[in-house]
């Protein structure tokens, strides 16, 4: 039963991911008073891509053709351990937050290899930059996460969330810092403005897109879907770790549906905020990214210290 629930939650996760990015795009267009595509546009794109026959460069190796599957399933796995609508599902125990980071690394590793596989300058550039940014982002993210895990003294996500829930509404300076750190990291990792521009077609300014230039057909579909998943994963992390209220703690249908509604609400709000910031902020130069990320790291560190000094001091 629980396992079934876990599977369902994961599927829900996967299914909702394109919707979120559709919603994000919709908000953005309206903020920039452009005519918005329908919310289902991402689904249509994915469908279209899966129908097409993929075109692959002649000297591409199996790395190139298999990477999309690996990346996608890594993301699905990540989705399976992040509580979306309910906590203490059995799947959460199979991997904790560190492993979650590991999944992201896994996906990134293959994406970067795929970028190098064709041997184009763009691919190389893309993977080089991606690895740079991620290697700066990872410590910042872990710093933020550690703040949580040390408060809850567990690295198991659902347990940690439960712990936060049980403590009820406590004003933790550490959490504020950590949340901001995590948000910054999320923006960097999901390739949003100001770090990267998903919609760009000026090749030299892009990072994530540069790696996947050569992809087409179902491969492209998988990768797009994976990145939408990633976006949603970060969203859910932020939403459920720092404002977990509303998430289902029992498995009653009513609690679950309640949980679903709340998470949709939270994500919707987050998306709006993101859209606003992307509208207001301009993309920054690549070599200012490290300042941006070290600021994120600093926030994470501050969160950690304030946890140790202010909250858990003995």
């Amino acid at each position: 039963m629980n396992w079934l629930l876990a599977v369902i939650q994961t599927m829900l996760f996967v299914a909702l991911a394109p919707l979120l990015s559709g919603w994000l795009k919709w908000c953005k267009c309206h903020l920039q008073n452009r005519k918005a595509p329908s919310l289902l546009q991402p689904y249509r794109n994915l469908l279209k891509l899966t129908r097409k026959q993929p075109v692959v460069a002649e000297h591409a190796s199996w790395i190139f053709t298999k990477s999309p599957y690996i990346v996608f399933s890594a993301m699905v796995l990540a989705a399976s351990v992040v509580p979306l609508i309910a906590v203490d599902l059995p799947s959460a125990a199979s991997a904790d937050v560190i492993v979650l980071v590991g999944f992201f690394a896994f996906a990134r590793f293959f994406l970067a290899l795929a970028g190098l596989d064709i041997g184009t300058a763009f691919g190389g550039m893309g993977s080089s930059r991606e690895m740079t940014i991620s290697s700066l982002a990872e410590p910042a993210m872990l710093m933020a996460v550690f703040t949580l895990t040390m408060t809850a003294s567990t690295t198991n996500l659902s347990l940690a969330i439960e712990h936060v829930l049980h403590e009820g509404l406590v004003l933790r300076p550490s959490f504020v810092f950590a949340m901001f750190a995590l948000i910054l990291v999320a923006i960097a990792e999901t390739g949003r403005i100001p770090v990267d521009n998903p919609a760009t077609h000026l090749e030299l300014t892009m990072i994530h897109e540069a790696m996947i230039l050569e992809y087409s057909g179902r491969h492209l579909a998988l990768i797009e879907w994976a990145s939408q998943l990633k976006l949603m994963l970060y969203g859910v992390l932020i939403a459920n770790i720092f404002l977990p209220w509303g998430i289902a703690q029992g498995f009653s249908a009513q609690a679950l549906s309640y949980g679903l509604l709340t998470i949709i609400g939270k994500l919707g709000v987050l998306a709006i905020l993101l859209a606003i910031s992307e509208t207001l902020v301009a993309k920054m130069r690549l070599f200012r990214v490290q300042e941006y990320l070290s600021f994120a790291y600093l926030l994470g560190l501050l969160g950690m210290l304030s946890h140790i000094i202010l909250e858990a001091s003995r």
Binding site: E58, A105, F287
Partner: protein, 709 residues
Amino acid sequence: MVLILAYAAVLFSFASGILALLTNQRPRLETLGQKYLARFPKHQRCRNMLNDGFQESRYPILLRQSTFVLLGLSGLLALSAGLGVLIGQQVLTDQIPLGLPWLPWHVRFDGLSGFFFLIIGIAVIAISLYGPGYVQAYQEEKHPFAVLGLFTGLFVAGMLLVLLADDAFFFMIAWELMSVASYFLVAFQHENSANRRAAFLYLLMAEVGALAIILSFGVLASFSDGLTFDALRHANLSSTWASIAFVLALLGFGMKAGIVPIHVWLPEAHPVAPSHISALMSGVMLKVAVYGLIRFCFDLLGDVHWQWGVVLLGLGTLSALGGILYAMMQPNLKRLLAYSSVENIGIIFMVLGLAMIFMANGFPQLAALGLLAALFHAFNHALFKNLLFLGAGILQHQTHSLDIDSMGGLIKRMPQTSFLFLIGCMSISSLPLFNGFVSEWLAFQTALQVNVLDNGVLRSLIPVAAAALALTAALAAACFVKVFGLIFLGLPRSRNSEKAQEVEDKGMLLALKLLAGLCFFFGIFPSLIINLLNNVAKQLLGLSLPNDTALSWMWLAPVSAQKASYSPLLVLISVLIATGISFWFLRRNPETKTMRRSEAWDCGFGGLNARMQYSSSAFTMPFRRIFAKVWLIDEQITKDMQGAQDLDVAAIHYHLQVQDHSWPRLYQPIANAINQLARQVGRIQTGNIRVYLGYSFVTLILLLWVVSL
């Protein structure tokens, strides 16, 4: 029984060394054999065997193979001995009637030694599979196999003896045997001066380190009676002296383990040795140094101070970051791998430091966890570092180069090697499902138990170290993306890599397969090793992980299931399911099932060629920018101008040299100081006999005055 296995392992490695010496003795042996067989006229078969054994052509091959067979046997024996003592959880002691009249060689074989026996065993088996194919590339007159084989045998024997030693004297003998033998191996291809320089540097550092170790033993010995480890264990010394001993030991073992900033010999020496030797040195010898440190701190010194832990943690962090950053800049594959060894040793030291801190603060269980993580990482590093070095050997074998920038596109020419190498890269950049990740995960878990500590400084320090560990891991991933991507993917960058073929020798590939298989296996079933390690912790710290965190065969919950858990098996299964479904789902349509091959799109630029690809220095350029302070970077761009008033550019030359800080900052000054001193001292020997007489005269007067005071 187990001890006999251990002895046998040592003897077999010796034997393989001795056997190698017979390389040039063919004629003598043949005549000897004939003479012997002449006594028994009826053994026609033996004689025939002998004859074709001694054919000019067959003999060397036969000898080589038998040498490596012996080596492999010694590896097997070491493996079984290690397993035996680990499973039996026993402590075996013995004495060998050698050494000093009042101090025979003491032998002790316990869990810790057993575990490192395990590591050495696996590594030696791998290289004995790999060796025969690899060494036949050396032509005999230039690089005599006798030397290589002899010192390989001695090297392995030395390492095993270090693990067996139970008194300071025997320990030092074994230790130095290991150093000297490996020195001769580093100097094996001594025709080019870089190797000679590297060898000299290596031996010098080894000597200095050994002296430091001797001194640290001396400190203990002067507070106890005798040199046996038992006596040293009972030495009760003041905390100052204990700290002095610790610092000396850290210096000595750290120098061998290659922690920053005393790591300089390592990236020089490891790359120039033959690849299977580099594998042994980088994968195993460093571990022996780690063993020495653990033995000295946790076993001999006994009560550790948390300050030592902080020192270890700091040095470890420094080495981990420094190592990987330096590694990233190397265009030479083996240098890169050597630097990455520095990184991994750094990680091990970090976790050991954590263990010490917990130990000193009275949390032996967490100390056990830390020790466990450290040992497990040592084990993993041995596996994947051997794998990568052996792979590098194959690449050198097939492309006659180690320069990453001259390779590319090898994945199609060497499919098996590339796949195995990929596994190595994935485990070293600690991706889930592979063993590297598990030990790093454990390290994080150890670090996150920090809030049991009272000391606020530590509680804020350790998470920072953990974040540094995360940075290290991420950088490692970047580094090995570069390695794999540039070597195997893209287009071939040189004619050699265009013409490269899969290595035909089965043994070499078999060794890689073995190691890669183990990397994956222990990534999925880590608990097997961890249960063994529990016994080690039990023996060493008298405590092991609590039973309620039952480490079942599929779950990993080191502290308690409530705190953290990880089940590689489940993850693997779900990955397979997810991949399977998406694979099936997307390829069910027959007409889109097949992919269309065409030339790369490349944003429509077209005319793609190998020189357009990202090179090693290009790939790492962002890191160079960001961490610029870490290296001494010498970057020059020169333009050849031509045409009217030399206005238009004919060619642009880009020169980049990235250097380690520690050389000019630390070593150069010392060398200069010594030379300066020597010059000053040289002044006293003027060559004039009257001056000499003056010395004698003055000395006489002086001494007479002194004694008559």
